[in-house]
């Protein structure tokens, strides 16, 4: 097992493509995406029940090395500032297979 960092990002589903671009620009070729995520935050309630994805979020999980964390955060911060959302970083062990 090797120590890694877990980055969790919840952002408006309309921003998914931009977020993926940012991850790939930081050489992060591994990420997991969960769509149709609901929630509530500074920008109000996103209960999804709508004809467009306007009121739904996406949850993105990225496992990466410690040194890759800062570039991703710097890349994501302007996105979060403009469109809202959250980003959490926590520790984990990666099972080597």
């Amino acid at each position: 097992m090797k120590p890694v960092k877990r980055i969790e990002i919840v952002v408006d589903s309309v921003e998914l493509n931009r977020l993926v671009e940012i991850l790939e620009q930081s050489q992060l070729k591994g990420y997991t995406v969960i769509k149709d995520v609901l929630g509530r935050g500074g920008h109000g309630l996103r209960d999804g029940g709508d004809l467009t994805d306007v009121l739904t979020n996406v949850y993105v999980l990225v496992a990466c090395n410690e040194d890759q964390v800062q570039p991703v955060i710097d890349g994501v911060r302007p996105l979060l500032k403009r469109f809202g959302g959250i980003c959490l970083v926590s520790d984990a062990q990666w099972v080597i297979h």
Binding site: H43, G49, T52, F83
Partner: protein, 322 residues
């Protein structure tokens, strides 16, 4: 004001099921039409009205009347958002004013379709090219909205990503499906038309009815956002459609549209978008609050139009004598 046209419109199954949807939410019932079924219905409706519009255009043909209608449609799709923006600026910041103005400058395909089904019931003819007018009026308001933000928002936003905005405005899912189906209807053979008939004609009214049950649920769920919108915007959500419709009817009389086309043109001007514009605004004007412009279009203007608006505008058209 002839009450029974409103009544006969309100007693149509689509409108009645809209009421049922609203009632279910107000009664806190757990009745729910889960995702992605609402999208299935809206895709089906866009495909069918586009295809049927194309087929009628194929029989119809092009003349100055059609051209005049298209010019009127595009002008309205630009004039309405600009006018609405300045009215809304009385009370709102630039971003929200522009987003709401873009919604009201654009159109609601479901309102258009509900109007065509009323015309069919009253056996009032209308032309296929009105669907082309619908397609023409989807996008300009989005560009107008982004431009208005660019001009009047003080903070120096790094330039507008024009390719992104234009793609959002002219190539969003609704426009591509509507225009695509219209073109396919134009070239489709009569035998193809016949074999598609049970799908495009037969179950159409039933799917529309099922969809309006869903619209009732969606609209009623947005009502709770209206507490934050405040009286000014609720007033705008009702007066804007009325004013736009009256102006549209006058223009229709001016260029000599038939009764059916005049109603559809009025409904296009009076309806607000809750599918194409919100998706575009989220991307290009993220500062605007979606629960504002979505709840106004879905919980005020859409119900107003299908319950009172449509029969009222028909009444006006008959009084003014188009």
């Amino acid at each position: 004001m002839d009450i029974d046209t409103i009544l006969s419109n309100a007693l149509n199954p689509p409108v009645l099921f809209f009421f049922l949807g609203v009632a279910a939410v107000l009664l806190k019932s757990d009745l729910e039409i889960p995702q992605p079924l609402p999208k299935l219905f809206s895709l089906y409706l866009l495909l069918v009205i586009g295809f049927k519009g194309g087929m009628e255009l194929h029989h119809g043909g092009f003349n100055t009347q059609v051209l005049l209608t298209f010019i009127a449609a595009i002008t309205a799709a630009i004039a309405v958002p600009v006018a609405s923006f300045f009215i809304l600026r009385i009370k709102l910041d630039v971003y929200n004013a522009a987003a709401i103005a873009a919604s009201y400058g654009s159109v609601s395909a479901v309102t258009f379709v509900t109007a065509t089904s009323l015309l069919q019931q009253l056996a009032v003819p209308y032309d296929g090219y009105m669907v082309a007018a619908l397609a023409l009026m989807e996008s300009p308001a989005i560009v107008a909205g982004v431009l208005l933000v660019r001009l009047y928002a003080n903070k120096q936003e790094k330039g507008i990503d024009w390719p992104e905005v234009l793609r959002e405005a002219f190539l969003n899912g609704s426009v591509v499906l509507l225009v695509g189906s219209l073109l396919i209807g134009l070239v489709a053979s009569d035998s193809a038309e016949k074999s598609l008939q049970p799908f495009t004609q037969g179950i159409f009214y039933g799917v529309l009815t099922f969809f309006l049950l869903d619209m009732g649920l969606l609209a009623a769920r947005r009502i709770k956002d209206l507490t934050k919108t405040g009286p000014f915007l609720i007033g705008f959500g009702i007066l804007a459609p009325l004013v736009n419709a009256v102006i549209a009817i006058l223009i229709a009389k001016l260029i000599g549209m038939g009764e059916g086309n005049a109603l559809l043109f009025a409904v296009l001007c009076a309806s607000a978008s809750y599918i194409a514009v919100p998706a575009a605004m989220r991307l290009s004007v993220p500062e605007a609050n979606p629960s504002l412009y979505v709840s106004m279009a879905l919980a005020i203007t859409f119900p107003f139009n299908i319950i009172f608006g449509i029969p009222l505008y028909l009444q006006l058209i008959r009084i003014i004598g188009v």
